[in-house]
């Protein structure tokens, strides 16, 4: 029901610019996820959209109307705060009912909405407790419940699931997805650190970094075709391995010599003038397969193994080449006793990314 448009938005705390040049169009019904390193300004941006922080530059439009100066209560938004911000003197039920009471909803309506939210969030036993008698996760659920009971034009979620256990997180995530589906018109903006959340929920992901937007796109776009090294490393866990090398073949496919550690073949196209340039080759740990044929890429000694059950992480020590000095591979199955062995890894050339000066070859 609401579209948002941010034009050249910026935020400064005194002389310090926290955000700059934020340009973003959010369509009605989208679920946008903000991701980015801690402290990059996600909460701040969300708070500016909510109207809780003054926008120090640029304009914010909701449904085409500039709302820079409209107070939060008039913007038709609901927000889940990173710090919960529960009303300490109200019980869980009262906390959730508050916005509805303010909106002068009927008693029955309020009760129904609260009951429903409590059921979804498994809060029924706690409806009469005060926030101080709740566990961290329970508090967070109340905060989410408060947003759910309302029916705002725009939902803002600031890391709503960070204190929930896995099962509940999945359940709540699905709940949010269904909520979204049930109200295709409501717009949601969601801040998270959880890759899975970002990937599963988002219609588009906004990657924030260094005070600005790094890339905007659908989850798969970001995963498969990251625009720059930052996004490439930020999306996906463990992050993409980056290895330095020199271009030895250009054209439809690019071949990079990994400074003696191997050769990488990528289906990313390159220009003739790239010949001999220093680039970085990126491969996601999960894109590695053991032993490659011709498209040999990398071989190294296993340093640490981490068994996660279904997959195992292998950490390779590298002499040079890899930017982070460790290359990680995620191989299916259990590989417990590989420590100390030398393993050779390969990868599908379509999944080998090449970055020159930090930018992907795909995006020039």
């Amino acid at each position: 029901m609401a579209s948002l448009k941010l034009t050249d938005v910026e935020k400064a705390y005194g002389p310090v610019k926290v955000l700059e040049d934020i340009n973003l169009d959010i369509e009605t019904g989208e679920l946008i996820v903000f991701v980015g390193p801690s402290g990059c300004g996600k909460s701040t941006l969300l708070r500016m959209i909510a109207g809780l922080e003054k926008i120090t530059g640029g304009t914010l439009e909701i449904d085409g109307a500039k709302v820079n100066d409209v107070p939060p209560s008039q913007r038709g938004i609901a927000m889940v705060f990173q710090s919960y911000a529960l009303y300490p003197h109200m019980t869980v039920a009262e906390n959730m009912a508050f916005a509805l009471k303010i909106a002068k909803k009927s008693k029955d309506e309020i009760e129904a909405a609260v009951k429903n939210a409590a059921r979804i969030l498994q809060l029924e036993p706690y409806l009469d407790r005060l926030p101080k008698a709740l566990s961290g996760g329970q508090r967070q659920r109340v905060a989410i419940g408060r947003a759910i009971v309302r029916d705002p034009k725009v939902y803002l979620f600031d890391e709503p699931l960070s204190n929930l256990d896995a099962a509940l997180r999945v359940a709540t995530r699905i709940e949010i997805a269904q909520l979204k589906e049930a109200m295709p018109d409501s717009t949601m903006i969601y801040v998270t650190h959880d890759q899975v959340e970002a990937m599963t929920l988002a219609s588009r992901i906004v990657v924030l970094a260094g005070g600005g937007i790094s890339q905007v796109g659908s989850p798969l776009e970001l995963y498969e075709r990251p625009e720059n090294e930052f996004v490439a490393q930020f999306i996906g866990s463990p992050s993409m391995n980056l290895m330095e090398g020199t271009v030895t073949e250009t054209g439809e496919r690019t071949v990079v010599d990994l400074d003696g550690q191997g050769i990488a073949v990528s289906h990313y196209p390159s220009l003739p003038e790239d010949m001999g340039a220093r680039v970085r080759v990126g491969v996601r740990p999960e894109d590695f397969v053991e032993a490659g044929g011709e498209d040999f890429i990398f071989s190294g000694k296993v340093n640490i193994t981490e068994a996660l059950g279904e997959v195992t992480l292998l950490y390779f020590e590298t002499d040079a080449g890899a930017v982070d000095e460790t290359v990680i591979a995620k191989l299916p199955g259990t590989h417990r006793d590989r420590r100390g062995q030398t393993v050779t890894l390969g990868a599908d050339p379509s999944k080998v990314h090449v970055f020159k000066d930090g930018k992907s070859l795909l995006y020039r």
Binding site: P72, M79, Q82, A85, P88, I102, A133
Partner: protein, 383 residues
Amino acid sequence: MDNIAGQKSSLTWATHISVFILVMLWLIPTVGLLVSSFRDRDQISASGWWEAPFAVELTARGRAATEATPDGDLYVVTGNIFDDEEAQSYFPKGSDDVVAFGTSGRNPTEHPAGQTADLGDGQSLVVNADGSYEFRTPEKPGSRGQRIYFAAESPPKFTLANYNQVLNSDGMGRAFLNTFTVTIPSTIIPILIAAFAAYALAWMDFPGRGLLIALVVGLLVVPLQLALVPMLGLHNRIGIGQSFMGIWMAHTAFGMPLAVYLLRNYMAGLPRDIIESAKVDGATDFELFLKIILPLSLPALAAFSIFQFLWTWNDLLVAKVFLPSDDASKVMTVKIADDLLGSRGGDWGILATAAFVSIAVPLVVFFSMQRFLVRGLLAGSVK
């Protein structure tokens, strides 16, 4: 916090003991007042209140009887000194403990009790511990008996007379009610007005906010005396005159700076997130104030209402100026100061009693408000 394991008991004991000592230190003067309120003025100025519960040696005087029986060439007067009217005024219940006696005011305890004193001129006198005496004189006693001074143990003397006088004096009940009539609105109304202003000063953004805060602090120090004349004049002009209405307004206004100041400072400390959350929830400033700020400011509201109540309760100055002086509108403080204490004041027993009578209600208020000064009102609300 109460849950923390293994708090050292030595420390706990140290706390108990030091608090006990502090309480004692604080209480001693008050206990003095309490004890004094049960004594009459003469006693208050004669001996320390801490001696009140004990028997004290009191020097008194009386006269021997005048009827004498001849015994040889002497006349003997016997009797008990406590039968004498004057002695009775010191010892209404008598005493078994006459310690010493004498016959001159200069030296009232010249002779130990039971010892026969030679008074010269053939006269002798003995006073026993139980007060019985034997006076021998060669001449028939005249119309005035022999003067006897004596020192005896006087039992502790307490009286409810002061309370009786304070509580049962004419119009005291009325004054008590009047005091309530003055204090309650004068406590509640300023809180409400000040709370709104405090909220605006703490959480609303507008030009001149800092200046207003400074103004409030500055006004805290204005001596009331400056305002009395102009304000009473104003009340007269607008027709309120001297009335309850007038005193409510005056107390409200005079309590305002402290109220705004205390409340603003408290409110400014509330977590920003909660207030923002309510704003996002669609609460207008008005609703936000009523439903979030007020309940969360309970401790400050309670603290201020205690003080405002105390101040209006003990106020004499404002009441005298803004209330008519007729009996129908006298409040307790005025009643006590003007009617009970007598022309030149200084009836310490009454003063002590009045202080004690008037302390009772504020203490009840304090006790009942104390529960609002609660711990952890904000607990669990934010990370």
